[in-house]
């Protein structure tokens, strides 16, 4: 058994697609499972209220949109990798895919035109995800090692393509994605929100999403239920690849440049956000909205500490402690 929550449930009185709660709240006492499943929301809300009270600069449209804007690439990556993790795998190559797709986007935009710059990183991400997926399913390499290896290879490829240089793009069409906005809301924030909603829908409502839980929860039972376990795993890796491509594209468009050193910490931060949200790192349980909460919680800590003028290294200590707390609550509840 693993920690975590959220079997997909679309029956009876449960309101959210993946709450896993079968009986309305008010009839039950709060139990350990509730702390595990919803504690993270309480922590998030408390921090949000505390920062609103403690800092005048926090609760402003500008600041809140800025948090989303700064975290859009990370959030998109984390939402994508959630599917990989729910299906029982792991992807450490997110950062390298991010860098490589970013380099591909800028190269394509420079040499072929802005339109290609927008499409090529998504295709590249899909191919990279396919490579990961094939290594894990067909060659039966442990996902951790396979993606560690491809992480090195993809990073090397990014440097090879960019020649180690910072590639500059000037096309305004290409730069619009990262810099323009509708009203006050930047395009990249819209992309993040749309992707999060879409992936939550895919995981929580579709047959494919249900199969992800099945494969991650019990691979052999999934096989014996007639599921195409390999294809499902490959598809999740490809989704993670495409989201890495989107994130890389947004970063390239925002900065107007592509660098093979971008996103070095993204893989681990994204996975930390997934775990912090309460998705089981062993697969079979979790959801995309949890990942969004995890990403935003990490973002709130950074933002709030900056506003309050606390040194950056304290932020990391708090983040680390919070992840330990979230994961240990999960496993303690399971072990009882």
């Amino acid at each position: 058994m693993t920690e975590g929550a959220d079997p997909p449930v679309s029956v009876e009185e449960s309101a959210p697609a993946d709450s896993g709660i079968s009986v309305p709240w008010h009839r039950r006492r709060i139990r350990a499972e509730h702390v595990r499943d919803y504690g993270i929301l309480v922590v998030f809300a408390s921090l949000f209220v505390a920062l609103s009270v403690g800092s005048s600069g926090f609760l402003t449209t500008n600041n809140l949109l800025n948090i989303l804007y700064e975290n859009a690439p990370l959030g998109i990556l984390a939402c994508g990798v959630t599917l990989v993790i729910v299906a029982g795998n792991f992807d450490l190559s997110l950062g390298a895919m991010f860098a490589l797709t970013e380099v591909c986007a800028t190269e394509a935009a420079i040499h072929w035109g802005a339109g290609f710059g927008l499409v090529v990183p998504l295709l590249a991400g899909a191919v990279l995800g396919l490579i990961n997926g094939l290594l894990v399913t067909k060659l039966r390499i442990n996902a951790f090692l396979a993606t560690l290896a491809t992480s090195l290879a993809f990073g090397g490829a990014a440097t090879a393509i960019s020649g180690g240089l910072l590639l500059q793009v000037t096309s305004s069409t290409f730069l619009a994605l990262g810099r323009d906005s509708i009203g006050q809301v930047q395009y990249s924030v819209i992309v993040f929100v749309v992707l999060a909603v879409l992936l939550q829908f895919v995981l929580g409502r579709t047959v494919f999403g249900r199969y992800c839980y099945g494969v991650g929860g019990n691979r052999e039972a999934a096989r014996q239920s007639g599921l195409r376990v390999d294809r499902i795993a490959i598809a999740t890796f490809m989704i993670a690849g495409v989201t890495a491509g989107i994130a890389g594209l947004i970063d390239a468009s925002t900065t107007g440049s592509g660098s093979s050193t971008a996103g070095a910490n993204y893989a681990l931060t994204a996975i930390a956000a997934v775990a912090l949200g309460g998705t089981s790192i062993f697969g079979g349980a979790g959801s995309v909205w949890r990942t969004v909460v995890g990403v935003l919680l990490l973002a709130l800590i950074t933002n709030g500490f900056d506003l309050l003028g606390v040194e950056a290294f304290y932020q990391d200590i708090v983040k680390g402690a919070l992840i330990v707390l979230a994961v240990s609550v999960g496993s303690l509840v399971e072990r009882r």
Binding site: M1, G217, Q224
Partner: protein, 508 residues
Amino acid sequence: MADSRQPVGRIRLERISKSYSRRKALDDVTLEIVGATVHGLVGANGAGKSTLGKIIAGAIRPDAGELYLDERQIRPADPHDARRHGIALIAQELALVPHLTVMENVFLGIEPRRWGLLARRRIERRYAELVQRWGFQLQRDAPVGGLRLADQQKVEILRAVASGASVIVMDEPTSSLTSVEVETLRRMIEQLRGMGTTIVYVSHSLEEVLQVADAISVLRDGRLVHTRAAAEETEASLVHAMFGAAVDAGQVEKPAQAGGPDVLEVRDLDLGALLKGVSLSIKAGEIVGLAGLVGSGRSELARAIFGVERMDRGTILVDGVERRIKSPRDAIDAGIAFVPESRKDDGLFMQLSVAANATIAGLGSIVSGLGTVKSSAERASASKLIGDLSIATPSPAAKVATLSGGNQQKVLFAKWLFREPRVLLLDEPTRGVDVNSRAAIHRLIRHQAASGVAILLISSELEEVLALAHRVLVIRHGAITHEFAADPPLAEVMEAAFGVAGAEHSPP
């Protein structure tokens, strides 16, 4: 360290009981094992023989009762603790470290030390002494993982005697040995006994126990039937003791005899060394029972038909049409369903809801154009299945992990009934379920047969097979050796399954 040449190692068990949930695995067992003898424990599957062996070796703690070693009461907390008292367990699954060498394994955890470091030379000297005393030929520095199973067992035995064990419990020691290796093991056991070690020998092979044991205790349904000298027993007398009451048990009402066309036909199925040229057919509405010992190939047959294991050769026809089955998916497409032996490992998604489990094999029928699961259809289907199978669950959205074993098993049935299969392969369909669920599952099996499904029923409990099946096949050493029409005498089926001498088709 105990000197293994002294006649120690007397074991006395006083009123030992052990229950799992509400099932009694051992009920008030009192037993004496004479020092420096080989004591066999036999019984049908689930009779409690393995549990008793593991209690002696500290791997299982009894709920009640006392354990004495040489008239001194001991309460081993775990196998390691038992080893300190001089009792070693050689489990069915050998517990060696594959990458370490023979010598390293023998002294693992009991290494002679000096200043906290390994005293390599003393280890070598003690190893040489041991090998000389026992006369085992083993490559001292070879990694254990590369050895043959019989040699690995020798390492376990050396390990046991190196720790000064006066009692060695062997749980199904021959289950993965070849006949030559079985013979080697038998000689080792005689040697151990000659040096004063007590052996508790747990096995389902009556032939072996009769050959090797001095005394034999028979268990039935967790109770001790009797202990007698091996010389007084025969295979037939043991079988009778193991099933005595059950042999005369009355028959339950049976579904009408089936006379439909063949739904499932299997021809000349080979699977490695496990199945050899198995052929069978099952008619519409027929329940065919498959009786055999653990390791006879009974589960492998179902797994091969369902495509879990890839068969080497053979033909499978469903409703007269040949189907190429290379995976469970192919089998499912052909209308075959399989309830596996272990619902937790191979059947259910414990973290998912009852509804999600019940529908996962047939989501294609409740999918919308967008690829989403139609929640109204899912709710309706799940509720119907929950009602039909009387699954006790607070809600279709409850996690399967929260249900009782019997209800989990019903969910597993629901998963397949949702697809309305033509063939149902059932491997131990009532294992670990309570009496009521068991009766409900039996009704369900009969009901499915009555509606024209072809059913293959595998069960360790012969009573179950005989109560339900229209026909009983006996599988032994990977081949079907006997076929009985409805209601054969239990003792005859038993004897066939155990391969008791005199049974006409002896295996190769």
